[in-house]
Symmetry: C4
Subunit: 232 residues, 4 copies
Amino acid sequence: MSNYKELKRDCYNANMELPKLDLVVYTFGNVSAVDRNQGVFAIKPSGVPYETLREEDIVIVDFENKIVEGKMRPSSDTKTHAFLYKHWQHIGGICHTHSCYAVSWAQAQMDIPLFGTTHADHNTSDIPCAPPMSDANIAGDYEHMTGQQILDCFNEKNISYKEVEMVLIGNHGPFTWGKDAKKAVYNSKVLEEIARMAYLTLQINPNAPRLKEALIKKHYERKHGEGAYYGQ
Amino acid sequence: MSNYKELKRDCYNANMELPKLDLVVYTFGNVSAVDRNQGVFAIKPSGVPYETLREEDIVIVDFENKIVEGKMRPSSDTKTHAFLYKHWQHIGGICHTHSCYAVSWAQAQMDIPLFGTTHADHNTSDIPCAPPMSDANIAGDYEHMTGQQILDCFNEKNISYKEVEMVLIGNHGPFTWGKDAKKAVYNSKVLEEIARMAYLTLQINPNAPRLKEALIKKHYERKHGEGAYYGQ
Amino acid sequence: MSNYKELKRDCYNANMELPKLDLVVYTFGNVSAVDRNQGVFAIKPSGVPYETLREEDIVIVDFENKIVEGKMRPSSDTKTHAFLYKHWQHIGGICHTHSCYAVSWAQAQMDIPLFGTTHADHNTSDIPCAPPMSDANIAGDYEHMTGQQILDCFNEKNISYKEVEMVLIGNHGPFTWGKDAKKAVYNSKVLEEIARMAYLTLQINPNAPRLKEALIKKHYERKHGEGAYYGQ
Amino acid sequence: MSNYKELKRDCYNANMELPKLDLVVYTFGNVSAVDRNQGVFAIKPSGVPYETLREEDIVIVDFENKIVEGKMRPSSDTKTHAFLYKHWQHIGGICHTHSCYAVSWAQAQMDIPLFGTTHADHNTSDIPCAPPMSDANIAGDYEHMTGQQILDCFNEKNISYKEVEMVLIGNHGPFTWGKDAKKAVYNSKVLEEIARMAYLTLQINPNAPRLKEALIKKHYERKHGEGAYYGQ
């Protein structure tokens, strides 16, 4: 009897949201869920299409990327997940997709500007786009360094991972996280919507101004502040 | 036994149209329905996803934003709804969404130009975009002042809320209304279609002319004038 | 017992294709089917949403726009259909929609350029956009004059309605036709695809060249010429 | 009893993926599957809509385009398939569609730039766009010469058909291939996603740089190289 039955189910359910939300085709994504007490996380197996994924296929891995339970190889992005869980104590789930609009901003190597309240309801700043990795790091432990790339980006821009739960990896695509796997997937969907709206906004008005500071504060605080009351 | 059973059902049914019409993801919208005889309106509860919303969750509120019936908190946009019901006597329902194309025009801070007959069948003017609120109002009674912002916009532009049943809040998104909740939702869908077509029109031809006056009159009057005969 | 049972069914079935093909929302379209022996055509009733449309609601009208059978009013576009049936002897069905990409080209008041073989498989020329009507005609018998507007456009551009079975009405939207109602609907879907591809082509390369003459001939003739052999 | 039962089924199943993946409307596509031992391939019949296509309708053809089994005419693109099977020994399936974004790049007559890792996971170079054919070849054995056009393009650009399993025919649309028919269809879907992302990338940032060489190598090799370990 597995010690990770519930963790696997959470991970499985969160993964299965991705095709329903039109965030993946084929195997273009993966979600993980962490159990900090047991020091492990559950993650999608490598190369398994969402149509055939089963709960028992989910792989259990520790923070040193060692397989703890499971017959399949874990996602090739596993080291990136492990890195983030180790460095960011307060996240419970991570999601990675190749959703179309988020990838397009990543390929454009541009932060997504904070244009409106849909964005401000979820983040206090632009969605950062981490610059491409150095050639040395690419040739080295690539997936591990992708985690480092995210960490460096947040440190350099002085952004808190608790306030901004999403990032674009330049030329690659989005990673999102949250208090659990379900929230990480939610953030991937929200990011895709924000990315699409920001794209359209710039097409309609290339000089569209960023949201004024007073509205950024108001929207984030009514949802996340001490006296939070938001909910549509 | 509730006095508001029918009102709740109308409100519930209108809300449930939003995900079917691809106008919302998660909780990104809300619809209300008014009963002017009883001096109350029914509105979506705050933060409840559309997938799990039930008829009995709908909240009854009076025009001073006091909860009259219901166990849940009403939508955080409730004060905007109340404001509009109080000031505009002839509307029976209000709808708010974060639909993608309408939001993008709102973020671009631009009115949607009247380019064609799809638009003219429903409105006699451009869809107005209310300019962002002053910092003082944002810090104050924000959702109440959003109602004021809409009212001011229509007064300044000398537009009748009976002829133009939709507005964009700059940086935020659309509000629509109508004789009942169902019509308000219909207007949200029509607005999204108009917003999408206007976006594409400008991409194809940045110098596309506005519709000529004779066609604006013809299309609006054959649908809404005294001898109305329109229906496709 | 109706003499028009089969005609009504053809008309009904063709109409019901429109929502399935994502060409209409609500009541934004109409299809008709003609019976030249009986001198009448069947058309969608006015203002009935596609979700509730029934076969027995279809209205039978003659070429002078007189209702021959049916309890509902025929579509407000009926006179345009009648005009085209009267002037173009070889068409058996007509379709009108407000599909998004076709409307956007119509609002841009531009012909859709013949950029590729998808277009050439169906038409020998650009899809013409009829210029907006004069104010006098708008104020007059508007829907009748819309038929005249289409006829004038084809005559002035010297295009045959047998080779090009689709047109854009400037500021309004598309009309398509064909040997029967089913083919008219098929042409509306093809037009929407062509309109979308031409839009994207110009976004990717504003200087994209029109298709060379040899390919236009080859593709049209292998599908429609004497030795036609085409079929994917 | 047919010798080609399994081949037909593979071909049928691959064809039926196309409408599910939103890659075709009506008859706008075709897939074939080869049996090199028997020296034949199975291909979709000409002009049959996907809604009514049956397994027994699939046509068996040899590499000289002669029908070996089947009552219907094979796709009008059959000669292009035969040409590619003859010249490229290592492919087992071919797919042709008129999917919207791929066609738009083809109509723009532009290669699809390698902007990101989604692209690099599948190809080592830009997706080539073969230039339009000479008038003499168009007037000649057109579908046969389309195969030649693809071959010439890969030879001139010095690209291996084993590393890049997709091409755009200028003004026409995409052809893709792979080890079997299923993989060919997979490549058509991947191409459509890549084409869409590249389009959006250029809209967001017209100066978006191509992916750096180190990342191209890394991503392709972790999926296709000797020590391949990739799988999301």
